[in-house]
């Protein structure tokens, strides 16, 4: 019999953006090898990490994701020659931006998982799930959404001055 799983108060929602050639296949391998990992992750398949627009990550957080994973082929193994290099560069810059707007970078993870690394996929997903579980729900965007209920009036002197200068 399986051991009874510990009950948690909070089940985080994890979204994984993966490339079809390496990480998706790695996740398939984890399945065919009957490895076990938390059921919190939802996988979105892309042809290449190069296709992943940073906007999708923001969108995922906005839709209530508590953690986001982006994973593709190891550098040099890209099925499309160099897509993962473009992704790496793009996300290096994007992380800075996220940090600037106040998102805890621990919620966002980038990794390389090859088609042969079913075990690594399990490790990455489990680690991120547990890490995010410990951090609690992502609230930053919800708070922002509340602030968006702004009246639209220019009611502070700074804003007025800025408006008049335009």
């Amino acid at each position: 019999m399986h051991a009874e799983k510990p009950k948690h108060d909070f089940e985080p929602k994890i979204i994984a953006f993966v490339c079809t050639w390496c990480t998706y296949a790695g996740a398939d391998l984890a399945g065919t090898s009957r490895m076990q990992y938390p059921s919190n992750v939802r996988v979105l398949k892309f042809p290449c990490t190069g296709r992943i627009d940073p906007v999708f990550i923001l969108k995922a957080f906005q839709q209530g994701a508590d953690g986001v994973l982006v994973s593709g082929c190891h550098p040099g193994d890209c099925h499309y020659i160099a897509g993962n290099f473009h992704a790496r560069r793009r996300f290096a810059a994007f992380r800075k931006l996220l940090e600037f707007i106040g998102v805890d970078l621990n919620r966002l993870q980038f990794s390389w998982v090859s088609a042969a690394e079913g075990g690594k996929w399990v490790e990455v997903v489990t680690d991120l799930t547990e890490k995010v579980r410990a951090m609690g729900p992502m609230t930053e965007f919800k708070e922002l959404a509340l602030e968006e209920q702004w009246s639209g009036k220019i009611d502070t002197p700074e804003l007025k001055e800025a408006y008049n200068q335009i």
Binding site: G31, R42, P47, R51, I81, G83, R90
Partner: protein, 665 residues
């Protein structure tokens, strides 16, 4: 309103054991847009597929989601079934509830909830799927082979034997390449000329092969199936149609002391010459840099003695445009020369081992010419300095190769074998001589290779010393070679008459500029890169361009020939159809939004993005936008993620589809 059909597979018990499939089907059936939702034991089986087809027709379904195994497994199966039922195959998506759900979770409740979410996500996605017509590209069934060495010759003959026209372009005046320079070949010691020249003649006589020698690639335009290649045919100064190849011009030419590159500059040639007697075509070339007529305007002896009147001093370079559908690159190798440091070379270590300073320190290819029966010495091993027979000869391996600190970290692969061969050839020709070899490791993988190497030691008495040479200097007419024998742990000093350096194999000079013309990638040494090191070793990432021989990496002759035939087979696979059909997962530009910044062009690894001019009815230029050539696009979507104005979309993975999936969560 879409009428989506959802089919949940039990996969025997593989899915239904941990996922309550009936509950999933019932839940999904409630989603807006879902017209039909059911579960079945084996969706991929014949009855399962029939169920799918029947439902599409009876329920008039507009989209299909099959929740089963990984799309990597059965996406093709279900898309085919959907197509058979009259729907566009790209209106079918798979939800992976086996590998990503039932197999990795034990808790039935958790797995069922996750399965419902996964299927729900795919339902939202499929709503945004569009009909994608398959893309066809016409194919010009002619091919271009660049390089007339053994790789190019083999590829050209194989393609031509299949009945397709081949254009073979060679930079030198004759085809044959480096293999024509070799004396004998390992591991069988058959004479290179004897096996090479019949193939060269076959090329010359083949009705399907058009040969351009003394020619270079000037420009390559187009894409797979439709390349336009501009070839620069340099002025030979001899009319190929009139010349009979009698050779009188060469015997009468007064310029007789020009070092012959083919003989590694040991032998001499005239200003009007063929590089070697078996040259194909057997039409001489005038070396304009060394010809008295071209230098001073006087002479013209060759023209006077030429019976058919073939010598033409007025001839000019020609540009020829050819249309081809596939390109085989077989430009071969060059030897690392440590004698002279080329301008701007990042490689250190020039002038070592007295190369270029001590005349009797030669490289492996020079030794081949000395040992060749048709070489400058008629096959006698003689010292270049005084023509004496060397009685003690030292071979030093890995000159340049495997020397990270010098700038070349790779193994040149053939030197261990050819040095073993050299010791044998030397022993056959100089019976009382002694050969020594300084080596790091003997690398002899290959059929009958290790046996051959052992023979050089056990039967042909070569002495192998494991260790490198530290110093080498001229002493009288001897060359003192100082090295270490690390197996015994002693210093060795040999007074040699001649030293042969096994210099590294490098790509041809100008390999990088050719790669830029072709739009193919190359590594830091300028060896061309294959699409996949293991599974696509003869194709370039650029569709329609294939690689053969040492231009891709150091190779011996058997490997080169196999790769050339493999490249030819790839070309024939391409030519086996009249139209090239490809998966329509390609990027498409929305011209209205495109501002022409060409960020997409910079990130495209395939060179698929072109510039397109938009003009009004009067022909005035409105703007320049990006255009993705569907024949070339690889379908990675990097352009879409890069585009600042979101004006390029990858069919099958549009923003709409992906956002719909995220929103479904």
């Amino acid at each position: 309103m879409s009428r989506i059909g959802v089919f949940i597979c039990h996969c025997g018990e593989n899915i239904s054991r941990t996922v309550d499939v009936e509950r999933v089907a019932a839940q999904i059936g409630k989603l807006p847009g879902v017209a039909f939702s059911t579960d079945y034991k084996y969706m991929c089986s014949d009855p399962g597929q029939n169920l799918l087809k029947k439902a599409i027709q009876e329920q008039k379904l507009s989209h299909v989601v099959v929740a089963a195994c990984s799309p990597r497994m059965h996406e093709k199966t279900f898309r085919k079934a959907v197509e058979a039922a009259g729907l566009n195959p790209f209106l079918c998506e798979m939800a992976n509830i086996r590998e990503h759900c039932s197999w990795v979770h034990e808790n039935k409740e958790e797995a069922t909830v996750k399965a419902i979410e996964i299927v729900g996500m795919m339902v939202e996605r499929v709503k945004k799927n569009r009909v994608l017509p398959s893309i066809t590209v016409p194919i010009t069934k002619r091919s271009l082979v660049i390089g007339g060495g053994i790789a190019g010759i083999q590829a050209a003959l194989d393609i031509a034997d299949c009945g397709h026209e081949v254009i073979l372009v060679e930079r030198e005046p004759s085809i044959g390449g480096h293999m024509a320079q070799l004396s004998e070949t390992f591991p069988t010691l058959d004479c290179s000329q004897c096996i090479m020249t019949p193939k060269m003649v076959d090329v010359a006589n083949h009705p399907k092969i058009k040969l351009y020698t003394y020619s270079e690639i000037e420009l390559v335009e187009g894409y797979i199936g439709n390349f336009q290649v501009t070839i620069k045919k340099r002025a030979r100064s001899v009319d190929e149609d009139k010349c009979t190849g009698c050779g009188v011009c060469m015997t009468k030419c007064p310029q007789k002391k020009i070092p012959n590159k083919f003989d590694m500059n040991i032998g001499m040639r005239t200003a009007i010459y063929v590089p070697f007697p078996q040259a194909v075509p057997n039409t001489p070339v005038i070396d304009r840099d060394n010809c008295t007529k071209f230098k001073t305007g006087k002479c013209g002896v060759c023209q006077k003695v030429c019976g058919p009147g073939a010598v033409d001093f007025e001839q000019e370079d020609q540009l020829i445009v050819e249309a081809v559908g596939a390109i085989v690159v077989a430009t071969g190798f060059d030897l690392y020369s440590i004698a002279e440091k080329p301008k701007g070379s990042p490689i250190k270590g020039y002038g070592e081992f007295g190369h270029g300073k001590i005349p009797d320190v030669i490289d492996g290819m020079t030794f081949e010419r000395l040992a060749s029966a048709s070489g400058p010495t008629g096959g006698k091993i003689l010292r270049p300095s005084d023509g004496k027979e060397p009685k003690q000869i030292v071979f030093i391996q890995c000159i340049g190769s495997r020397a990270r600190e010098k700038g070349i970290s790779y193994c040149s692969k053939v030197c261990c074998m050819y040095t073993a061969k050299h010791t044998m050839l030397y022993h056959h020709k100089v019976h009382d001589g002694q050969a020594y070899v300084f080596f790091m490791d003997a690398r002899t993988p290959g059929k009958s290779y290790d046996e051959f190497w052992r023979r050089s030691i056990e039967e042909e008495e070569a002495v192998y010393i494991r260790g490198m040479v530290s110093r080498l200097y001229q002493k009288g007419d001897k060359i003192v070679v100082m090295g270490s024998d690390i197996a015994v742990g002693v210093q060795v000093e040999i007074e040699a008459d001649m030293v042969v350096l096994a210099t590294a194999i490098q790509p041809q000079k100008g390999a990088d500029s050719l790669a830029q013309k072709l739009g193919i990638s190359y590594d830091k040494y300028h060896f061309y890169s294959e699409a996949h090191a293991k599974l696509r070793p003869v194709e370039c990432a650029t569709a329609g361009i294939y690689l053969a021989g040492a231009c891709q990496g150091p190779k011996d002759i058997p490997e080169t020939v196999s790769q050339a035939s493999a490249a030819a087979a790839k070309v024939m696979t391409l030519f086996s159809k009249d139209q090239l059909e490809r998966e329509p997962i390609v990027a498409r530009v929305r011209e209205a939004g495109c501002v022409g910044c060409f960020a997409c062009k910079k990130v495209c690894a395939y060179g698929a993005v072109e510039e397109k001019e938009i003009r009004d009815r009067q022909g005035n230029l409105i703007k320049v936008v990006a255009y993705v050539n569907p024949g070339v696009c690889g379908g990675c979507g990097t352009c879409q993620a890069t585009c600042p104005s979101k004006s390029v979309e990858l069919d099958g993975y549009t923003d709409e589809q992906i956002v719909a999936m995220i929103e479904a969560l």
